[in-house]
Symmetry: C2
Amino acid sequence: MLTFEVISQSSTTSARAGTFNTAHGRVETPIFMPVGTLATVKALPPEVLTAAGAQIILGNTYHLYLRPGCAVIDKFNGLHRFMHWEGSILTDSGGFQVFSLAQLSTIDEAGYAFQSHLDGSRHLLTPERAIDVQICLNSDIHMCLDQCIPYPADRQLTADALGLTTRWAKRCKTHWEAHTDRQNHLFGIVQGGMYADLRSRSAQELAELALPGYAIGGLSVGEPKALMLEMAAHTLPLLPPDKPKYIMGVGTPEDLVELVALGADMFDCVMPTRNARNGQLFTRRGRLNISNARFRDDTRPLDEKCDCYTCRHFSRAYLRHLYTAREIMAYYLNTLHNVYYYLSLAREMRTAICDDRFEAFRRQFYLDREAGAHQ
Amino acid sequence: MLTFEVISQSSTTSARAGTFNTAHGRVETPIFMPVGTLATVKALPPEVLTAAGAQIILGNTYHLYLRPGCAVIDKFNGLHRFMHWEGSILTDSGGFQVFSLAQLSTIDEAGYAFQSHLDGSRHLLTPERAIDVQICLNSDIHMCLDQCIPYPADRQLTADALGLTTRWAKRCKTHWEAHTDRQNHLFGIVQGGMYADLRSRSAQELAELALPGYAIGGLSVGEPKALMLEMAAHTLPLLPPDKPKYIMGVGTPEDLVELVALGADMFDCVMPTRNARNGQLFTRRGRLNISNARFRDDTRPLDEKCDCYTCRHFSRAYLRHLYTAREIMAYYLNTLHNVYYYLSLAREMRTAICDDRFEAFRRQFYLDREAGAHQ
């Protein structure tokens, strides 16, 4: 049973600090989960992730199911030993990738039928199968299979998807209860698109299942930022307060700060890792494109206040050189910095909440960015 | 002044163990120098190189001169701080890359005129300029500019190139003596192609310059293996015994063992790093192609006797998965293993020489490989 303890609550916002334990350790919220799609957080060795403060990472069920597949991972009793990661792992259900990556996918009450984006092979992803794969991956947190929808989506499609998502969540729970010792934890996913009343309905239906945790899915799918925050602000208070609240696939540093203010506890996003590989680096003064010619002989670190390995030992000039030469070390150093930035941001928010100065933290966060235009 | 001390000499072969110091530490020979072409040993952070036992790495003057260029590296007082490498650095002269990479290069008494392979810009590389660039890079060992020739090459071309190489070595020495405090060291390069008498002449002419160390260039350029070893066997005894003897750009693990037996002290080669990126991994039982389907669910490490980070924590199945998925971590883990393999091989040879059991070591080295066919 997952026990989520709220250890501190901001007095002026909905921000909160909490902790929960998995079989692989303690997770301190608010937390950012680096994305490890294919059994590796791209470019970073596990010990480097741990040193950067990562407590929990995300694995993508769809990707791992196709490659290397359960037969291989089963030989290692799951992802942890396969990839040499000793912290916690959350796996998604595969639904979002089937929706966004697979070819010729169709959906009905049974589940998703799809063809692999790699080789065109045919597969069926049912709620039960999604759980079975996650059991094989032996992740600490499993996600229920949900139906993802495009943005914009009309009300009927949204309502239908929400209904199916609830029915699938029930099937996931039944299967999970029957086939695991529940040392791992099952989270439900609230859908409902950009319709507040449908979000309410989804949150209520899922809350009735009394799952160990809850996520909000279907945000950051192309809608305006204000609408994303509006939907989160509407939905977060409807989720059980004694369970972790996870916003899936979001977002920028600013998004994290705003969503924590609204009561969110957990995040994942490819942004720090993917942007690192594209040369975009996060600092407290904003983002840098390291390929910019003005960094050509800049002997300063990326961020003078950052104490990550990259900033302690390397200059902007060196990082620009590596990046423009497409050296592998560019991906390592850039990713390390960006992941450290996200993890530090979550950690600093947690500390600010515990000291009940979250609003002051948020103000300074934006002031640092405004000051950064001339960096 | 470089002081090379032979601390042990094999009683049955010409193998020897030695040490010398640079401003950046002690170098224990026989030694392998990982290649760090563009101010990074591809895929490996400096601390990982150090932990793997690297004492000295190689930088490519031609590449660094073009990118990022001396103006940038000068801001860091040289390569060491630019790339955060605290060990020793040897830089080549740029001649070989002009010969093999540059466009429209022409050579005369003055030096090489060439166009950059990156942007077609025009440059002149004289012996003096080669030293100036290496002074800017602030490497611990500079190499004299030499004229490289193709294989096969006729006797006249080879003799002419050898003559020019000697004249250039004199100019390099004069310039180096005039423009440095000689805390770093200048090595000459013996040429002479596949003509034993020309190798003799080159070795003698260079020995007269009393340089701090000597290299044999122009080997492993396409000639049969037996001819390479024949030329090395002929030339190595002609070099001053109290100076380090460096075989440039060689080679396989077997080459290293044979050349150490003939009296060579230093090696560099892209093979461990480049092959790693192509999925070819060195073990004491021979080479593995990690993409091979038979490793799909192989839970064993690459080499059960290897105690590198990769072998201590990861399986062949995981390495195959990363490699087939083209994950950046594949390049990191593969490169780390291969570099560790080469560095360990050099270290084990040194120990065997000090214990005067080099021939037994060499026998076991080949026995392990023969046993490896069924690995």
